[in-house]
């Protein structure tokens, strides 16, 4: 007997097709591994900091999407590739509803893209380039701050 799998499958057939309520979420959750957000009071939204990799952030966001949160910013923000920067910040909705298929599609595609780039040599962190890491942190930070500005308009 394995109940768990059956329950999940069963749950899925309910969740698919349920209509997602539209309307602009005013409340955000920032999911990030960028240490700059730990010290910075600036983005006035809930922040969930994880001490993990770029990919870990994507996976956590995917899990939240499974729980009904909506993706609000693009996971592949920035032209800095997933094997170049260690940092990633993503906005999701605070409120939850049914599974949002668009969000799920984008996060899954982004995870695939991340995995594709991670097959290439990792380009950050060698030679103790602290300054380089600080720059990656700054760019990730600025891009998501721009997204938060969009959200607050």
């Amino acid at each position: 007997m394995n109940r768990a799998k059956g329950v999940v499958l069963f749950a899925l057939c309910f969740v698919f097709g349920r209509k997602q309520s539209s309307g602009k979420e005013r409340y955000l959750i920032l999911i990030t591994n960028n240490p700059k957000f730990q010290s910075d009071p600036e983005p006035r939204c809930d922040t969930e900091y994880i001490a993990g990799s770029y990919r870990d952030v994507l996976i956590l966001v995917r899990d939240r999407i499974h729980q009904g949160h909506r993706l609000l910013s693009h996971p592949l923000s920035g032209s800095v590739k997933p094997n170049e920067t260690p940092y990633k910040s993503i906005l999701i909705s605070k409120n939850t509803g049914g599974l949002d298929m668009d969000s799920l599609q984008i996060i899954e595609d982004s995870i695939s893209t991340c995995d594709k780039f991670m097959q290439n040599p990792i380009k950050y962190g060698h030679n103790n380039q602290d300054a380089l890491l600080a720059d990656f942190s700054e760019v990730d930070y600025r891009l998501i701050v721009a997204a938060i500005a969009s959200a607050s308009r």
């Binding site: 693009h74 032209s79 982004s110 893209t113 290439n120 990656f136 760019v139 721009a146």
Partner: protein, 426 residues
């Protein structure tokens, strides 16, 4: 709106006591230009170098490339809202120093990037190896923040290009090209039987080091809008985009947008090029929905039969590209999209981060992950030790003999998504 471009062909650049253009040679008084650029209090020092086609020279890291132009007749000045006051440009006559460019370089952030090789295999991949380049190397004042540093370098490049452009103000052009876009009504009267086509240009607008300015406006703050194509030829759109050298559009690309040129080339013969739409590539997903809704709405409003959509960048913009394509196709308007690919070093991976069945007509600028070996150059302008931290470079990229093993990503303009190059992939 009608614009004439008076091309003055430049085949050499030299430093001299008097800045001038004479017999196709651009002479530059370094001191005068340096003082002009040092007026910016954020810049502590400026130096110049010259790189010519065929030389054993490598320029890196390249920030922007700008073609010197000057307004000769008609409203406004080049780079309106940035260098010149805000005024509608795109009509009258503009002189161009064809064959010359200003190249800015600097280390704004550690992973700042972009390589131009003036000879060797790398030269085949960048259009800028064919130009006579004045390289501007700016150092910022101590402690200048990245965003202020980027802005200072951006302005230095534009100011240098405008300075050089002014030397062409009273010159007789070697060649005059003419581009005209009449009103919608007029163009319909002229060519009632030709398919009506518009150009949808997507602009990089994600934030720091990923921005584009239109008449000085940060495009991520704007809604999708329309321009006359000739406005770009006067510098209505400038690049503040410093990341992903291969598929970012430099200001040079905007001034010489190839889609605009090739649509004009067929205008009145096989198609009726009615105008262009510019849209953004914001990080916030609701912005994407709104902007792509507007692209589709404006395309519908223009009553076009088809559009060409060009992209800028990778990942996040793939989603905008597909949204634009899908929504415009859904209006019954045919699309062709121009993109590039990240198919992995072996070419075996899925190329785009987003995809849709409606995107059935795609032009590609090639696989940016392809690895190239750039042999050592006799002279390097800029900062060669950055090779390891350049996008597309990797640990050990810089070989002991001075050669660099990098992905095409690192080469400025290599997989341009305006279709500037002949490079493609299958």
């Amino acid at each position: 709106m009608k614009l004439e471009l008076g091309n003055i062909f430049i085949h050499d650049i030299q430093f001299d006591d008097l800045s001038r253009v004479e017999n196709g040679v651009l002479y530059i008084n370094e001191e005068e230009l340096r003082e002009h650029l040092l007026e910016d209090e954020n810049i502590s020092s400026v130096s110049f170098d010259i790189a010519k086609p065929g030389e054993s020279v490598r320029i890196m890291p390249v920030k922007d490339v700008i073609e010197p132009r000057v307004k000769v007749e008609g409203r406004g000045g080049v780079f309106p809202g940035v260098i010149s006051k805000v005024d509608t440009v795109g009509s009258g006559r503009t002189n161009v120093l064809k064959g010359a460019a200003v190249v800015t370089t600097g280390t704004i952030v550690g992973f700042q990037e972009g390589i131009i090789d003036m000879s060797g295999p790398g030269a085949d991949y960048t259009p800028f190896s064919k130009l006579n380049n004045l390289v501007v190397i700016c150092e910022p004042v101590e402690g200048l923040k990245q965003h202020a540093h980027e802005k200072a370098v951006r302005f230095a490049g534009l100011k240098a290009a405008a300075y050089l452009g002014r030397l062409a103000k009273d010159l007789e052009a070697d060649e005059v090209e003419s581009f005209e876009t009449p009103s919608l009504i007029e163009s319909f009267r002229q060519y009632p039987d030709l398919p009506r086509v518009a150009y949808v240009q997507m602009l990089q607008t994600q934030g720091l080091l990923h921005d584009t300015y239109v008449y000085g406006v940060d495009m991520k703050q704007s809604i999708t809008t329309m321009l006359y194509p000739t406005e770009l030829m006067d510098g209505a759109i400038i690049s503040g985009n410093c990341v992903s050298a291969c598929d970012k559009n430099t200001t040079y690309h905007h001034l010489n947008n190839p889609v605009i040129r090739d649509l004009y080339a067929r205008h009145g013969k096989e198609l009726n090029f009615v105008g262009m739409i510019i849209t953004n590539e914001n990080v916030y997903l609701a912005d994407k929905e709104r902007s792509s809704d507007w692209s589709a709405k404006l395309a519908e409003f223009l009553g076009v039969d088809g559009v060409i959509i060009s992209q800028e960048g990778f990942g996040n913009p793939d989603t905008d590209l597909i949204m634009n394509c899908k929504k415009i196709e859904a209006k019954g308007i045919k699309t062709v999209i121009i993109t590039d690919e990240y198919a992995g070093r072996d070419g075996a991976s899925q190329s785009l981060a987003d995809a849709d069945i409606s995107a059935n007509a795609v032009v590609t600028g090639g696989n940016a992950n392809m690895v190239v070996n750039l042999p050592p150059m006799e002279k390097v302008i800029g900062h060669v030790k950055l090779a390891d931290t350049i996008a597309g470079g990797f640990d050990g990229s810089l070989q002991p003999d001075g050669s660099i093993v990098v992905e095409l990503q690192a080469i400025t303009g290599a997989t341009n998504e305006l279709g500037f190059n002949r490079l493609s992939a299958r």
